[in-house]
């Protein structure tokens, strides 16, 4: 394996070494939690949180500190991974009803998701040093929320890697994502299958150094 990963969080905490905090952002159901779990599982065998097909499964930012990314040739980087709720401009409880929730549960989920998105956007202002922006390769990358988010990330002058996720699906078209955001590095992966993760680790070590 070209890249290998391990944890050194304890020593870094002990000596107060500054680490880059990398936020995993993207629209709902792009595979952010699956990717975060993949990265953390490669290191520790643990998971960061549950992923599901229901939008807004992640409603609070989850963090894993001290993940050491190694990309061969002695290139290493210690980062904190932050998995964030799916970013969107509208949240309505009706979208949860079709997943079999009752109304009270769906309304509560909508409120929690809204708080989670607000929190994730506040974090972007001062607590995040770099962004992995995850997109579903089977979806249209020109969605308004993506254009807006990339604009916000650029205005904050944060380094960004765009991940074209779900390339294991037959209708994946990662080339569309490359065409949509030619100004940023795009890495094609499958967080679920673990395809091409080495390329992502190399890019993380290069961009967030």
């Amino acid at each position: 394996m070209a890249a290998f990963l391990r944890i050194k969080g304890f020593f870094n905490k002990l000596f107060g070494k500054k680490r880059s905090r990398v936020g995993i952002y993207g629209p709902p159901n792009a595979g952010k939690t699956t990717l975060a779990n993949r990265i953390v599982r490669d290191v520790t065998g643990e998971a960061l949180g549950p992923a599901s097909e229901i939008p807004h499964e992640t409603r609070r930012a989850r963090r894993k500190e001290g993940v050491e990314i190694s990309a061969g040739a002695g290139s290493k980087l210690m980062i904190d991974i932050v998995d964030t709720p799916g970013v969107t401009t509208k949240i309505d409880y009706h979208e949860f009803l079709e997943y079999g929730m009752d109304q009270d549960e769906a309304v509560a989920r909508a409120r929690e998701a809204t708080e989670g998105v607000a929190e994730a956007m506040h974090w972007l202002r001062e607590d995040i040093d770099g962004v992995i922006y995850v997109l579903d390769s089977t979806q249209d990358p020109f969605m308004h929320v993506n254009i807006m988010m990339i604009g916000i990330i650029e205005s904050r002058k944060l380094p960004v890697i765009i991940v074209a996720n779900k390339i294991d699906l037959p209708d994946a078209a990662p080339q569309r994502i490359k065409s949509a955001f030619p100004q940023h590095p795009v890495v094609e992966i499958s967080g679920l299958e673990g395809n091409n993760m080495d390329a992502l680790y190399s890019k993380i070590a290069e961009v967030f150094r």
Partner: protein
């Protein structure tokens, strides 16, 4: 076959996209698709377009106001708007730009301000 504005009778060629923004002459939003047979009836027989529509049983098309787009929230002052129970609109740019929390309530100009979040901002600015 052309369309005619039901208000002023102005004619537009078939497939004209001009009418999507309303009639440029009178601002009318309703248009009738007229066949060549009745195309000049409004002038020659002095019939109103509505009358022609009645006679030909052709449906009058109305240009719909475009649905409000998410960009409309950009100019708004609030960071989150509560549209109704369990329904929210988020102003991502504002959430990323400021610590102030301003909640919009419905569409009738009611707002809730979190004064605590605003005073926090001032104290953090002082530190800088």
């Amino acid at each position: 076959m052309p369309h005619k504005c039901t208000k002023c009778g102005r004619e537009f060629r078939d497939g004209s996209v001009e009418i999507l923004r309303g009639c440029p002459s009178c601002g009318g939003k309703k248009f009738l698709y007229v066949s060549d047979r009745v195309r000049n009836e409004d002038v020659l027989a002095e019939k109103s377009i509505e009358k022609i529509a009645e006679e030909t049983k052709q449906e009058v098309l109305e240009v719909q106001k475009p649905a409000s787009r998410p960009t409309d929230i950009l100019g708004r002052v609030e960071s989150v708007r509560i549209v109704g129970k369990g329904s929210y609109e988020l102003n991502l740019e504002r959430l990323a730009d400021t610590q102030d929390i301003i909640i919009g309530m419905g569409n009738d100009g009611k707002y809730m301000l979190d004064l605590n979040s605003m005073s926090k901002k001032r104290s953090s600015q002082k530190k800088r």
